[in-house]
């Protein structure tokens, strides 16, 4: 028999004193030669920036490991923990510094924002892997919303925008079928 789950409730506007932490967007160890930047905007259904979203990333290490490591809230400058948390700024912009994942080439992304009854799951693909079942099942225009774009002239920077609603709406994922 399965226990009924505790329902989700909106994160609201006041999480800022509790959840963001120094270095939250710095998943890559300081000065790491393979560090890349992933950045972009979060926008609402009218294209306005969302200045109070909180983005959480979880990903494999460069060697493909998904074991993670403690120390995510206490960045020691050395350890790659696989997890990052970064709020958007006043322009709805976020910046993550990380290492590219080994194995499946994506970062799992959880988007929290006031106004959402429940957070949203999506994926940031840094390359488009052949034979990926999830991407293959999507029409091309929707698939494109999950692909980070390498920035022209910068080998170490990627852009990934989150469109919460409307034209170009990001594909969000439903994991409940696994319950």
């Amino acid at each position: 028999m399965l226990l009924p789950p505790t329902p989700s409730q909106t994160i609201g506007p006041y999480y800022g004193t509790a959840l963001p932490f120094p270095g939250g967007g710095d998943a890559a160890p300081a000065g790491h030669p393979a560090a890349v930047t992933l950045h972009g905007h979060v926008r609402d259904g009218e294209g306005a920036p969302v200045p109070d979203a909180l983005l959480e990333f979880w990903q494999a290490a460069p060697d493909g490991s998904l074991a993670g490591a403690p120390g995510s809230l206490h960045r020691d400058g050395e350890t790659f923990t696989g997890w990052a948390r970064v709020p958007t700024d006043r322009d709805g912009h976020y910046v993550l510094r990380t290492l590219l994942p080994g194995g499946a080439p994506y970062l799992a992304l959880c988007v929290h924002a006031r106004g959402l009854d429940r957070h949203l799951f999506t994926r940031v693909y840094v390359t488009e892997p052949p034979g990926d079942a999830l991407l293959a099942a999507l029409p091309a225009d929707r698939r494109a919303t999950l692909l980070a774009r390498p920035e022209a002239g910068r080998r170490t920077a990627y852009r990934f925008d989150v469109q919460l609603q409307g034209d170009g709406e990001t594909v969000f994922l439903d994991w409940s079928a696994g319950d």
């Binding site: 226990l3 505790t6 006041y14 609402d44 120390g71 995510s72 499946a104």
Partner: protein
């Protein structure tokens, strides 16, 4: 929820952008109306492939949480104003298995119903001895425990003068990224509960009831604080879940 209609959102119907005289309320209305996706979430094909990142999740350790981070009454030189409480419970998955060593985060208003946050313009006093943020790790049995003060109710603004019932905001991690949970805990017998539009965004009455804690005198400290028990069940698949299902 497969490729069907999205669940109804009662909060969306009750917070309307027409109350534009109140900027905080207008911002909330805009968020409710313009941030929720219009398309249903795409079901992830199950069972998922081995190595799927979302079936695991971040790990936390003693470096991440200080020994007093769970006690919101001891973060400043003086003691905060308000009724001291202990809030504790157990975090499990849907099979009742404890979620061990995982991060639980808490944030809340002070006893007067005011957040120590620059966007909170409610004209109730700030408390110099209360920030209202805490964190802890679950123990080997999945238990968490916070010492804090009971938060006050606060107004949402708007034409109907809606108020929030007293509540604590919680953030939880499971063993898998898919088990992530952000939610709110309420207090038993609060007369504002039936009209709390955020709590009522959960359409199922039984599910709403699971957001309400229970007075548990055994959890409090005699002569010092009352205890409230709130157990939390995380949803969503995980690697251990998938193994157990086979």
């Amino acid at each position: 929820m497969a490729l069907s209609e999205p669940a109804p959102r009662p909060a969306q119907e009750q917070i309307r952008p027409t109350d534009s005289g109140d900027s905080a309320f207008a911002a909330a209305a805009r968020a409710v109306a313009l941030r929720a996706p219009l398309r249903p979430a795409v079901p992830v094909p199950m069972p998922v492939a081995p190595g799927t990142a979302e079936l695991s999740g971040p790990v936390f350790g003693t470096a991440d949480v200080g020994p007093l981070d769970h006690d919101l009454t001891r973060q400043h030189r003086g003691e905060p104003v308000g009724e001291r409480i202990v809030v504790a419970g157990r975090v499990t998955d849907r099979r009742g298995r404890p979620v061990r060593g995982q991060l639980v985060e808490l944030w809340q208003a002070n006893a007067a119903g005011r957040y120590a946050h620059p966007l909170d313009r409610h004209p109730a006093p700030l408390d110099p001895h209360f920030t209202g943020a805490g964190r802890c790790l679950t123990d080997g049995d999945g238990r968490y425990r916070f010492v804090t003060i009971r938060p006050g109710a606060y107004p949402l603004g708007g034409a109907n003068d809606a108020w929030r019932a007293a509540h604590l905001h919680f953030s939880l991690f499971g063993t898998a990224f898919t088990q992530r949970l952000v939610t709110q805990m309420y207090f038993p017998g609060d007369p504002l509960l039936p009209d709390d539009i955020i709590r009522n965004a959960v359409s199922d009455a039984a599910a709403r009831a699971r957001l309400v804690s229970a007075l548990d005198r055994a959890l409090g400290e005699p002569g010092r604080s009352l205890g409230y028990r709130w157990d939390i069940v995380l949803d969503g698949p995980s690697a251990t879940w998938t193994e157990g299902a086979r």
